[in-house]
Structure formats: C-alpha cells, structure tokens
Symmetry: C2
Subunit: 190 residues, 2 copies
Amino acid sequence: MSAKEILRDHISKTISLTDDQFDYFFSHFKPQSFKKGQSIITAGDVVDAEYFVLTGCLKSFYINDDIKMYILQFAMPTWWASDYNALYANTRATINVDCITDTEVLCLHNADREKLCSEIHAVEHFFRWRTNKGYVASQKRLLSFMNNDAKSRYEELLRMYPQLYNIVPKNLIAAYLGVSRETLSRLYHS
Amino acid sequence: MSAKEILRDHISKTISLTDDQFDYFFSHFKPQSFKKGQSIITAGDVVDAEYFVLTGCLKSFYINDDIKMYILQFAMPTWWASDYNALYANTRATINVDCITDTEVLCLHNADREKLCSEIHAVEHFFRWRTNKGYVASQKRLLSFMNNDAKSRYEELLRMYPQLYNIVPKNLIAAYLGVSRETLSRLYHS
C-alpha cells in the first residue's frame, strides 16, 4: 500500500472523509525516512510535530540521571509517536524518539493538526478518539507498574505488538517491561 | 458558584459556547450527591457515565489479588473521573471510584457526551483537549513509576493538588505514591 492508502485505511476505522477532504487532510503530512539508530526527537529539542509510522519501528524513551533507559512506547506501523507532553504544552522534549529499524513516517505539525481539527469536525473526532485510546493504554500500563506485575506487562506487550519479538532486541523489551534481562528470560520461557 | 457556573467556568478555559449552546450542553448533566465512603463505580459494574466533581473529593483505585489498593487518581473540584477503560471500550469496570468526603458531581452519560460532541464541534474540541491533558499527566506518572522516583511523584502530587493534605488521610496519599507510610513520612519531612 502507498503512504496515502495506509493513512486512509487507518483513519477510516474511526471516521469517513470524502475523497476531497482526505486529499486535503493528507496534503498536510510530510513523508520522512530515517535510518536505523537515527534520532527523531532528542531531549531538549523544541517539539512541533508528531509522526505516523508507515514502515519500521520507533521507540520513545527516557534516560534518567543514572543513564538508565526507560522505554515508554514502541511505535510500529499505523502507530503515532511524539513527545506529547512537549508537543501539547509547547515545552522542550524530556523524552527521546529514535529508530529501532529503518523507518518511514508521515510527519504532521502541531499547527496543521489544530488547523485540520478546526476546519473538519470529523478530523477533530478522529484525534479525540486516538487520544482516548492512548489514555486508556497509558492507564493500564500505569496500573501494571503500580502493581509491579511484570507478567501482565509482558502479556499485554505480546497482545499489542505480536510481531515485536522478531524486530526488537531483548534488552529493549526488558527496558519496556522495566525488568532485568534475566527476569525477561524467565517470563519468556514460562 | 452554582453547578452551572462551575461547569461554564471550567469549559470556558478551552472553548466558547453561546448561552443557548451552554444551556443545551448543561441540560445533559445530572446533579448527584454522595456521602463520604459511598461507592460510585465498583469493579464489575457496567460503566456508562463519567463524573465532573463540583465539591468534595473522589478516588479511583484498583484492588489486586492480594487485596492491596493502588490509587490511580484523586478527583477534586473541576476534575473528571470514571473508569475510562470500561467507559470507552464498553466493558465492565476493573477499577473502583468512591468518595473520600461528601461529594457533589455532575454525571454525564457516554451516549450524551458522544451526541454533544457530534452536534457541537466546539464540544468535541473541549473533550479532545481534556483527554490530551489526561494522557500527558498519565505518561508523566508512568515515567515516575518506571524510574521509581517517589520524591518526584510526591512533588507532582503537591503541585497538582495543593489542598490535598488537608482532605486526604496519609494512608491514601501513600497508596497514590506507591510507597509505605514510613517512606511518605520521610518525603513529608525532607
């Protein structure tokens, strides 16, 4: 599928746009290609865009004062990624987003998303429901951390990203789950 | 302020509605009063509404298999509460919402919120931004749990709810932070 078809298929699960509306919507997205390991957002950056993944895989992550990495999210095809705290609050990035594999994205600037939401009511509906789903996923992940339940985080990860194990190194999966490589091995073989 | 004025003041921070539009919007909210300790949502319930707090304080919490309580959120006046996972996905509640003090709320049913969002574009904009802010708060809280940084969770709590210490028992604050009462005392006096 082309980038345009992938995006249309994705939004069609929530809203219907006419061909003209979708052409206009799509015209605000800029295709970008990144190499494996390349950084898209670095802590400290001004953040004015979000990214819809077409191919490849991103990770958004936080590095604490002890240089330990925490993975907030993987973003596979048809997932969205950014530093939403920085994007929505118009502050500088506190997290990083980079490429686990070569990755193609569609970039949407903050101002363009707001313009599209204002001009086309259905687009505002789409983005409301996208965030609703993100909010619920984030609450579930929070509960599994509060409950210190690595096994449920592992099972949720498998459910959300069944292809992930073929793409992502085990140390990154451990960093997502918030466990050591040894604990991951035990979950993996249980 | 009356319930109507509190809600109008709250939404005016994001959108403008005409008096007629606001009257129509407000007509979908049902005032409800609850006593201290009373339950609004219990795990296992069908969830078809969310609650805008006028006075008092709610907590949303999860009880694990070991009967240990984890507090996801406190809801003070002008905050919203529900089991959003159940509400949005049309499943049964996995969390509970009850009253820390006597509490007055405005209840909005799921179907009414969706009708209002569909009928009034500005209302859809309001709810998109409400969820955007909730999503960002949830991501920040997740990072502080991943990073196991109780001190930053404590400071964030004080910033978000400066009046909380006069209202909420210390054991509930510890359950929100995910720490013991002893650790809370150390944070409190540091």
